[in-house]
């Protein structure tokens, strides 16, 4: 038997590509940030998962499935939130999904080392739905810290199944699956505790709830919805009901009585904030009470080690130097480590290119076909893979390691004061960190900032952090032009320091532009800021490698390859189809050249950036191809050959510096622009981002080029 689901439920299901008519069970995964929720999700689903936007992190709803007791369970990973009060996009997503009626079971993942705070969310979820399983994760960490959790007592007090897990070692997952299965099949009747709010509120709830119940959608808890209606501004005549939770508009008499009830509550709580306080306090005190009975702490100083690490990593003297050293080391290992495999891959690809050319000649295929496929497509692909893959395969695991250790929030903590002075949000530092991997991911990560103004600032400035598509360009230019004259070991050291300088410049530009935006088109004061510094965690090396290679490296590389193949062909065609005396490309280059010279670049470079709009990875291959089409054919199998090619086209150190500057500060790639449009729902802000980033690059390049020339340095 299949019942046609109602529209709202259907919509959410379609959004998540879930077929409601199937016999599968749908499980929502909720929890505070930093509870190991992603690990629970990954351990349950394995690699059998799919994310809409960015894999690996819970910035958007990831989905996965597993089979247990012959039933398929579809797991939806919700964004990590502290509450369901819908103060931010993430909270709204989480709340709407839990109360949409789509999930058969909601699993709340809680951190055993910080259970009391986590219980607040558990109690909030229990207000919305009865079908809940609590997963107390990180039990081993808790044990090490001398924290003991009485799981049976917790389960008894909450009235729901409580399962202890160490998701990263797979401990407790079978029990968790069993509990989800039992709740989903309604094999056990749950009678969760209900938070109580005192006589006055309870009286009004009893009075209104039965009437309201008739109008709310299936699966939405009417006690909870009545409570949230009571909390609305008492002066307002509007009932505050919207179609997320209601089947139809409330009739006049019901909104009238709602109005009266609010008026009468106002007698008891003159300030609406007092009413909200009272309701929240009801939940928080309940959580505290439960924690007192079920959680025992043997050592008072259980977080001592973390505090001692923090007192170095975030100290006045060491905080910033350690941060820069760590970043510098990451770049050094990346550059040093990528050197040999890049060379090897390049020679391999070059060898294969020769064989391909021989084959084309042997088969007697026309020259233009060889040009399009080998000189155009193959060469571009070969560059993208040989130059991008090794650094990414080293950088991503290292970066994920820092992330897993819990270091990234400390970066935000260290830098917050600067962001505060720029009237921006401290969590912008976190979104910048995500931008290192991919700016589109960084833009999505901006959802963690609730204030719309500060979120826009973070989105507009995210591009000032070089993503992995731009690192290879920066590394290559820094290696051959800045560190070019150095001997072996110093070369990678100087190159790393140059990259570090580029990053620091990116941060400075980010702060300056954020400040400028705050003073002009995005005026305002910093909003509230709370940042959790989670406990340091032992990293899981195996998982780091799988996640960073599978979810990040291959994902980013795949996207680059898809763009690079057609772009290589198009560029080759542009460079080889002539109109009049010159190729189409050359016409464009000549047109751009006078302007580009002002910026310390040349027409080819500017053209390459423009043609590279779909993806930053292809800027250098396009440039190489354009230079090559104008004469010299060089066997391009090493960075030294690249240097010779560039120098032959009039490059100096200034050209390299300006190209690096423009690489750091120019319009975002196509994917990022689309993401900005999606996230802001506004063409205007997408356009503003395009203009602000490009203008910054133009101004910086112009200033550097002109000052260097004026001073006679170049």
């Amino acid at each position: 038997m299949s019942i046609k689901p109602e529209p709202g439920r259907q919509m959410i299901a379609e959004l998540l590509k879930i077929d409601l008519n199937q016999e599968d069970f749908i499980v929502a995964l909720a929890g505070n940030p930093n509870t190991g929720k992603s690990t629970v999700f990954n351990s349950l689903t394995g690699l059998n998962q799919h994310t809409g936007n960015w894999p690996g992190k819970t910035v958007t709803t990831a989905r996965g499935k597993y089979v247990h007791n012959d039933k398929t369970f579809i797991l939806v990973d919700l964004p990590g939130t502290y509450s369901l009060s819908a103060n931010s996009v993430d909270e709204e997503i989480a709340r709407d999904f839990i109360c949409s009626g789509v999930p058969h079971v909601t699993v709340v993942v809680a951190d055993a080392t910080c259970l009391e705070r986590n219980l607040i969310l558990v109690l909030q979820v229990l207000e919305i739905t009865n079908q809940v399983v609590l997963c107390v994760n990180l039990l081993d960490e808790a044990k090490r810290k001398g924290i003991q959790v009485d799981l049976p007592r917790l389960s008894e007090m909450l009235g729901i199944p409580v399962i202890g897990t160490n998701a990263r070692d797979g401990v407790g997952l079978k029990d968790l699956k069993d509990a989800i299965d039992r709740v989903a099949r309604k094999g056990m009747t749950l009678t969760p505790i209900v938070a109580e709010y005192g006589d006055e509120i309870e009286k009004q709830l009893r009075f209104l709830q039965p009437d309201i119940q008739k109008y709310v959608k299936n699966g939405v808890n009417s006690r909870w919805i009545t409570l949230s209606l009571l909390e609305k501004d008492p002066g307002s005549m509007e009932c505050g009901a919207n179609d997320t939770f209601f089947k139809e508009a409330l009739p006049q008499e019901l909104t009238d009585s709602l109005y009266l009830v609010r008026q009468s509550l106002q007698q008891h709580y003159p300030d609406p904030e007092r009413l909200h306080d009272h309701i929240v306090a009801g939940i928080v005190n309940r959580a505290e009470g439960i924690a007192k009975e079920a959680i025992f702490c043997k050592k008072a100083d259980y977080n001592d080690l973390d505090r001692r690490i923090d007192s170095v990593l975030t100290s006045k003297i060491w905080g910033i130097p350690v941060m820069l050293t760590l970043l510098g080391m990451v770049f050094w290992i990346t550059i040093k480590g990528a050197n040999y495999p890049s060379q090897a891959l390049a020679s391999g690809f070059f060898w294969l290119e020769e064989r391909l050319t021989h084959f084309f000649l042997y088969a007697g295929w026309p020259g233009w076909l060889h040009g399009l496929l080998v000189s155009g497509m193959y060469k571009t692909l070969a560059w993208v893979v040989s130059v991008m893959l090794p650094p990414m395969a080293i950088f991503f695991p290292l970066f994920t390691l820092l992330e897993d250790l819990g270091y990234l929030p400390r970066i935000a903590f260290n830098l917050d004061n600067y962001f505060q002075k720029a009237c921006a949000h401290g969590k912008q530092a976190l979104t910048m960190c995500m931008g290192f991997g991919c700016n589109a991911a960084g833009v999505i990560a901006c959802r963690i900032i609730d204030s719309p103004r500060e979120r826009l600032i973070a989105i507009i400035t995210n591009n000032f952090v070089p993503c992995n598509g731009r690192f290879p360009t920066l590394i290559a230019l820094a290696t051959i032009f800045i560190a070019g004259g150095m001997a072996g070991h110093y070369q990678s050291l100087v190159a790393s320091l140059s990259i570090l300088a580029v990053i620091v410049l990116g941060v400075v530009v980010t702060l300056a532009v954020s400040w400028l935006l705050s003073k002009t088109i995005l005026k305002g004061l910093p909003s509230s800021f709370t940042l959790e510094l989670p406990p340091y965690r032992k990293p899981q090396l195996g998982r780091i490698i799988v996640r960073s290679i599978y979810d990040r490296t291959l994902f980013v590389l795949g996207r680059a390859v898809i763009v690079a193949a057609p772009a290589g062909m198009i560029t080759w065609a542009l460079a080889n189809i002539s109109v009049g005396e010159l190729s189409i490309l050359q016409h464009g280059v000549n047109y751009l050249d006078p302007f580009a010279q002002w910026l310390g670049l040349d027409g080819f470079i500017l053209m390459a950036f423009i043609l590279g709009l779909p993806a930053n990875e292809i800027v250098i291959p396009i440039l190489i191809m354009s230079y090559m089409s104008t004469g010299q054919m060089i066997e391009l199998d090493s960075l030294q050959a690249l240097r010779e090619l560039f120098v032959a086209h009039g490059w100096t150190w200034l050209t390299a510096v300006c190209t690096m500057l423009f690489c750091l500060n120019h319009f975002p790639c196509g994917t990022t622009l689309l993401t900005i449009q999606k996230e802001t729902q506004s063409l205007k802000w997408t356009g503003v981002t395009f203009l602000v980033t490009t203008a910054t690059g133009l101004i910086l390049c112009f200033l550097v080029a002109q000052s260097a020339r004026l001073l006679g340095l170049a």
């Binding site: 705070r117 905080g319 909003s527 800021f529 709370t530």
Partner: protein, 88 residues
């Protein structure tokens, strides 16, 4: 009357109990989401390199707050944990 101090005047390493939240609206809700209500125990743990924000222990979690937010949280310090108001 007992002496209350704003949270950012609580000296590092000492603790106290929240007695009053003067913040309003969104900020107030954010605090409450973290379990920061009247009666909650807090301890000042660590300053960031520039002195602001400061990390506090709240219900077993470590939360960094800017002085702007902490100023809206009035606490009763244990013992001599706070800097007396008159010094400011």
């Amino acid at each position: 009357m007992e002496k209350l101090i704003p949270l950012h005047h609580l000296s590092l390493g000492s603790s106290g109990e929240v007695r009053q939240l003067t913040a309003a609206g969104h900020t107030r809700r954010r605090m409450m989401d973290l379990g920061l209500i009247c009666g909650t125990r807090v301890a000042a743990l660590q300053k960031s390199p520039s002195g602001d924000p400061v990390a506090y222990e709240i219900r077993g979690a470590v939360i960094a707050l800017r002085s702007q937010e902490a100023a809206g949280i009035m606490v009763k310090a244990d013992g001599n944990g706070g800097i007396p108001h008159s010094e400011y």
